[in-house]
Every structure is written in C-alpha cells, then in structure tokens.
Amino acid sequence: MRIIDLALKDLSQIFRDKRSLLFLVAMPIAFTIFMGFAYKNGSDNDASKDTRVPLGWVNNDGNGYVSTQLFEMLSNSDSIRLVELTSDAVDESIRTGEVAGVLIVPDRYSEQVSAGNEAPLTLITDTNSTNGQSLYQILRTSVTKLMSAVEIAHLSAETIGKPNDASELNEAFASASQAWSKADSASLVTVEMAMENAPTENWFGDNPYNQASPGILVQFAIMGLVSSGQILVQERKTRTLQRLMSTTMRPWEIVAGHTLAMFGIVFTQIALLVVFGQLALGVNYMSAPLGTLLVSVALSLWVAAMGLLIGTVVKDDSQVILFALMAMFIFSALGGTWFPLEVASGTFASIGKVMPSAWAMTGYQNILMRGLGLESAWMPTLILLVYALGFFLIAVRRFSKLGI
C-alpha cells in the first residue's frame, strides 16, 4: 500500500507541472505527424497526375539508329516521361526539378556501339533520391535490352556471313529490338507479402504512420524519463529521500514505489500515443489489442527501470535531461526507430537488432506491418522484460550504494 502511496505522490507531483505534458504528449504527437509527413513525402496518390519520372534527353547522336531505338523504347515507357533538352540546360533543369535526371547520348553513339567500341550513356541524377534510383533501375533494363539487340545483330550478321553489311545489321537490329519489346521477364515474377494479413503493398503498409507512430512512441517513451527521473533527483536534493529512509518503509519499497510511478508515466504516455495513432492516424494497433498491450507494458517496464537507473546515476536535473537524451538518441537510432535497420550497414544493423528498442519496434511492427496476432508479441515482450529486469537490478544496486 505504501508503495502505491509513494507512486501516487510521484505521479501527482509530475502531473501538477503542466509543462511535463509538453514532453509527454504534445511533442511526441507533433513529431509523429511530422515524421509521417516526411515518410509520405513524394508518394502523391492523385490518380489524375502524371506520376512518370521526368527524364531529360540530350541526344548528341543525331539520327543514329541505336539512339533512335532507345528514344522509342523510353517514349513508350509507363514509368518515364522524356523531356528533350539541350546540353547547356542540363544543370538548370535538374536544379529546378524540371527533370529528375538527364540521359546524355554521346556523339557518334550508334556508330561506336555498332563497331563494338565502348560508348557509355551518361545518366546524371541523384541516386540518393527515390526518383534517381527509379531512373537508374529502369534505364539499366532498357540499356541491357538495347545493347543485347546490337550484339544479337552482330552475331546474326556474322553467322550468316555478312558481318560488315550495314543494311543487314540494321535489319537484324530492328528484328531483335522488336522481339525484345515483346519479351517481358518482369511479368514472370510477382512479389507478395508473406503474411496473409499484412496491410498492403509498400514497406510501411500504405500508411506512413505505421513506421512513424511506433518509432516516435518508443523514442519519446525514453524521453519521458526526463519528468520521472527528475523526481528521484529532487528527492535526493531536498533530502526528502533521506527522510523517507528514516521511516519504516524499506528500501526496496521505496525503489518499487518510484519505479511504479515511472512505469505509470511511461505507460500512460504510450497508451495516449497508441490511442492517438489508432484514432487519428489510422495505425491499427487494435488489430491485436492484447499483443499491443503486452509489448507496451514490457516497454514501459524497461524504460521505467532505465529511468530509475538514470535517477541513481545523475547529480542534478540538467543531467537527467542530458542522460535521457543520450539514451534516447542511442536506443532510437540503434533500435530502428528513425529508419528501418534494413537500410543500415551490416554491423550497425546487427548491434541494433539486439537492442531493447529494436525488440519493441519488432513487437509493434509484427502487429502493424506484418499483420500478425498476439502470438507474435510474446518473444519481444519476453526479451523486453529481461532487459527491464537487468536495468532494474543495476539500478537497485546503485540505489543501495547512494549512501543515504
């Protein structure tokens, strides 16, 4: 009972300060909306809009038959919109965003490739951008087919004994290009989500908040330590903790009371963000309510244990903020809350995957993106509980050494 009294005292102390609501609720909500907006950027769903990627076309090959064929191939593409440019307009067109990239066909291109010489096409684009990546992928396939047609024309002309006959080469090239236009290997491969209940096609399940909401939730759960961690520091500074120790309340009860308050704060914050995500952003946490609850409880326990640890390590309020921020940065980045660990390099991803924050993300993503049920929440929950216990034991050890 005294544990609950102590926890309630902490909670009333925190909630009396209206400013804590800024960090606990307002900022995470603002960040969730903001990050979702950032993830969504570029995925415009307006069906009437021309969604083809604009590609600048600079042809220095005149009416060469190979470049003419390439122009035809790209003009018929459903993914690319060609914009004819002159050489001196390349930089400006990219800078103003008129085109996402420019393909430059070199001088005497057809002549060179027909003679078997190297004459690379140049694609100028920012491969860091989605459009740049798309252009490169599309062009790689088109160029492969184009060069294959050139090679086939050569081999065919050689085999029938007319290796230097321009007319024969042209005919064979036209025939190969036509055959390639009918060959569509991509249609022989389909991609499906393995989970039958997985939301939809893209990696964030058509709702960018499926990544942003749990990501910010985990990040700000750690940030929430600022409010709860400061209570313990204030008690030490104002010597109310010493006074508490002089009562019949045992040390473990004091630790448990403070931990319970921290758990209450973090869990309340998570619950609010889950409700906000579900109702306002369409993030379907309720597709597995018990799973969401389990992961949230385990996450709250781990964060509360870490808060207790920080409260026993730091010396003043500002250090609580600093330590909580550092913990937030490290666990958020490594745990894949800022960006999916899939895009990180091998070692970083390997370290990240064992982080408690990564397990919390996995727990939520199992429900939101993989469409799995309660059974998928057990493993992340268990691992988070192990982390919570580990942090709690270290915190208790630190607490006992405070010499109060």
């Binding site: 140049t122 060959a183 399940g205």
Partner: protein
C-alpha cells in the same frame, strides 16, 4: 574591459556545465556519428551490405525432350547459392511454399523465392501463366527488390537467348540460307558469354558499364551521395544545437537574476548596455567555439566538405548572428530559468521541425516554404548552398537576411531586457 570580464566569467560558467557541453557538442556529434556508422561506411568505400536471408523453393523440373541441360529453376536457385553472393546473401532451401511462408513469418528469412513446377516447360512454350512468386517480409524493401532484380535479370538473359535464336532464324531465311544446327551451340555460347560480361560490368564495374551514373553538378565533384547526405544531416544538427546552445548560454542572465548576482552587478558603476554586451559576447563566443568544433569534427571525422571558404564563412557567420539574436529574443520573454526547458524545448524544436532541420536530407516543399519565415530555415538554406559548392555570390542573400534577422531579434530582446531591469 568590463565587457570582456563579464564575458569571460560567463564562459567559465559555461565550460563548467556538463549539460551545456553535452547539448552543444556531445549530442550533435552522437547523432551524426550514429547515422554515419549506419550508412557512412559506404562513404569510405567500405560497402558492408546487410545480409539478405533468402529461402528458395524450387519445384521446377526439366521437361521431356528439352534441349536444356538443367531446368531454369535450378539456374535461379544456384544464383542465390553462388560463391560470389555468399557475403551478402544467405540462402537456404525449403521444400514447399507453406514452409517458406512460415519461415518468413517467423523472420528466419526475409524473402522467399517460389519457383513453381513446370516453370521451364511453360516458359519454353511462351506461356506467361506460370510465374515465380517472391514472398517478402512487409517491413523490408531492399532485400525483396534485389532478389526480384536478380531473378528478372536471369530471365532476361534466357529471354535474350530466345531473341537471338529468333533473329538468327529470321535473318537466315531472309537471306535464303538454311541454318546449320551445328553452329547453334556456338552461337548461344557466344551470346551467353557476352551477356554475362555485360551484366558483370553493369553491376561490378560501373565505370566500364554501358550506362554510367554521375551526380548533378550542384552536388560537387565529390559525387559521393552518402557524403552529401551526411553533410545535410550534420548541418541540420549543427543548426539545431547552435540555436539551443545560444539560448542556453544566454540564460545565464536569468540565472544571475534569480541568484541575486545581477542585482549586485547593477549596484556597481557598470551600465546595463555593458552588462548586456558582455553577456552577448559570451554567447557569441560559445556559439563560435561550438560551431568550430562541430564543423571540424564534420570535416575530419565524417569527411564532410562544407564548401568554398567564402561560402562556408558566410554560412557560419549568418548562423552565429541569427542564433545569438534569437537567443536574446527568446530569453527576454522568459521569466525564470524554470520556464527555459519548456520554451527552449517547445519553441526551438518546433522552429527546427518546420524549417526542415530534422529532414535536411529530404526535399519537402512545405518545409522549404515555411523555412523562408524562420532564421533556422535561412541558415539551412545557406548551408545547403555552401555544401553544394555554390560560390560566395550565391550566399550573399541568405547572409544578409540572417544578419538582418539577427539584428532585429537582438534589438527587440535587448529592449525588453532594458525594460525589465530598468
């Protein structure tokens, strides 16, 4: 002299604050380092691909009387078990689709390639009904794309063989020749060798490939996209924490007011302008030191090229003026140091957010627009130009805007302080 004394005293106080050092230097460096280590190894040329766990279900078989030596399914399967991809693809066999699907669900593998029975047979007769299915974990994007590209590329190679044979037959007939079956294997072999070499050049020797990719001129001649991304990310952090540091350092005036030392200072023959100027100088110096450390760390730890000397200096000076100006204005509104966390946390984070500091490497039109109305937005604009290698002339406008903003904000803040301490 008194100005310097006040500034020096404030600077000593700042260096003793673990919080200020943590927020001014450790936090931005930590964030950049974390992102650098997640992507940055690519910038140094040490490409460490995350492992893709692929499951293969090969139900395909060789049709009767086929000229092929092995079914296509076997070629696709072998591709994932090949020595050349072993460092980044970990492949395993599964007996059927259900088992593979369970393995993806359990996250043992990220992608499963299901090659159906009779795929080769249907492919050879031109049927498009029998398709290869790639099952993917919905949280992944790169792995499934790579696997799909690999399968499509292999099928393109096979299709190329078909195209080659078709053209040869057609051209032989058109030239009134009868195709000698004995030359067909050599013909195929020559084409296959060419295709394999072509693909190798395309994937492994980008400089010798038929399609060469270059970065736009504005990205600078470094052409390294990861470095460019790191530059953007670190400039966002630099700006955010520079404004925070300025505001926090300026808070010393409130702390002195609360501790009573400011009132004591007012009793000395030091006018208020001198006191405020001393405080201003301390903040300016703190922001300069912070900026210098972070910019040097960016250059030497993360290999970021900040731009031409003139452009770089204008960006940095603009950032200094704006951050000190905003710091003065913000702190002039705050009544106590207790309010500071709320105001700094709320105002600076919101301004940073709408100015695009946290998404500096992504082009978002709305933030570009809103950035025109915030000092942080203009500083980001200046750094983007400098990072893009733009000359000093391009930086003049952002610099002038930032200087004006800095002066106006400082003037308003100073006026409010004078009124408060009159």
């Amino acid at each position: 002299m008194k100005i310097l004394d006040i500034a020096f005293k404030d600077l000593v106080r700042s260096t003793r604050s673990l919080f200020l050092i943590g927020m001014a230097l450790a936090a931005p460096l930590l964030i950049t380092a974390l992102i650098y280590f997640s992507f940055g190894s690519i910038a140094s040329g040490n490409v460490e691909m995350p492992t893709i766990n692929v499951g293969v279900v090969n139900l395909d078989g060789l049709p009767a009387n086929s000229l092929l030596e092995a079914p296509l399914g076997e070629s696709i399967r072998s591709m994932f078990f090949d020595e050349s991809v072993r460092s980044w693809i970990h492949a395993s066999d599964y007996p059927d689709e259900a088992t593979a699907r369970d393995a993806v669900n359990a996250q043992e593998i990220g992608v499963a390639v299901i090659i159906p029975a009779a795929f080769t047979e249907d492919y050879l007769v031109g049927s498009k009904e029998t398709v290869i299915t790639i099952l993917q974990d919905p949280t992944l994007s790169i792995g499934p794309t790579v696997v799909r590209d690999m399968v499509t590329s292999l099928l393109d190679g096979v299709a190329g063989g078909g195209v080659a044979f078709k053209v040869l037959t057609e051209r032989s007939e058109a030239n009134g020749q009868t195709l000698d079956p004995a030359i067909i294997p050599t013909f195929f072999e020559t084409y296959s060798t060419w295709y394999a070499n072509f693909q190798r050049a395309m994937f492994h020797s980008p400089d010798k490939a038929a399609l060469v990719v270059k970065s736009p001129a504005e990205k600078g001649d470094a052409g390294n996209n990861v470095q460019s991304m790191m530059g953007m990310i670190m400039s966002g952090q630099l700006i955010f924490f520079s404004f925070f540091t300025g505001a926090y350092a300026m808070m010393s005036i409130l702390q002195e007011s609360e501790e009573g030392t400011l009132a004591r200072l007012f009793t000395t023959p030091t006018n208020r302008t001198t006191i405020l100027a001393g405080k201003f100088l301390a903040v300016l110096f703190t922001v300069i030191v912070q900026g210098a450390v972070l910019l040097s760390a960016g250059r030497y730890l993360f290999n970021i090229r900040w731009g031409e000397t003139g452009s770089f200096l204008l960006s940095f000076m603009g950032q200094m003026f704006a951050s000190v100006g905003l710091a003065t204005l913000l702190v002039s509104f705050i009544k106590s140091s207790k309010q500071a966390g709320f105001v700094f946390g709320g105002a600076l984070t919101t301004l940073g957010m709408i100015s695009g500091l946290f998404t500096a490497n992504i082009q978002i039109a709305a933030f570009d627009l809103m950035g025109n109305f915030t000092p942080q937005g203009w500083v980001l604009k200046a750094w983007k130009l400098s990072l893009a290698g733009q000359p000093v002339s391009e930086l003049v406008t952002p610099f002038l805007v930032l200087t004006m903003m800095g002066i106006v904000m400082f003037a308003v803040g100073a006026m409010l302080f004078r009124r408060r301490f009159a």
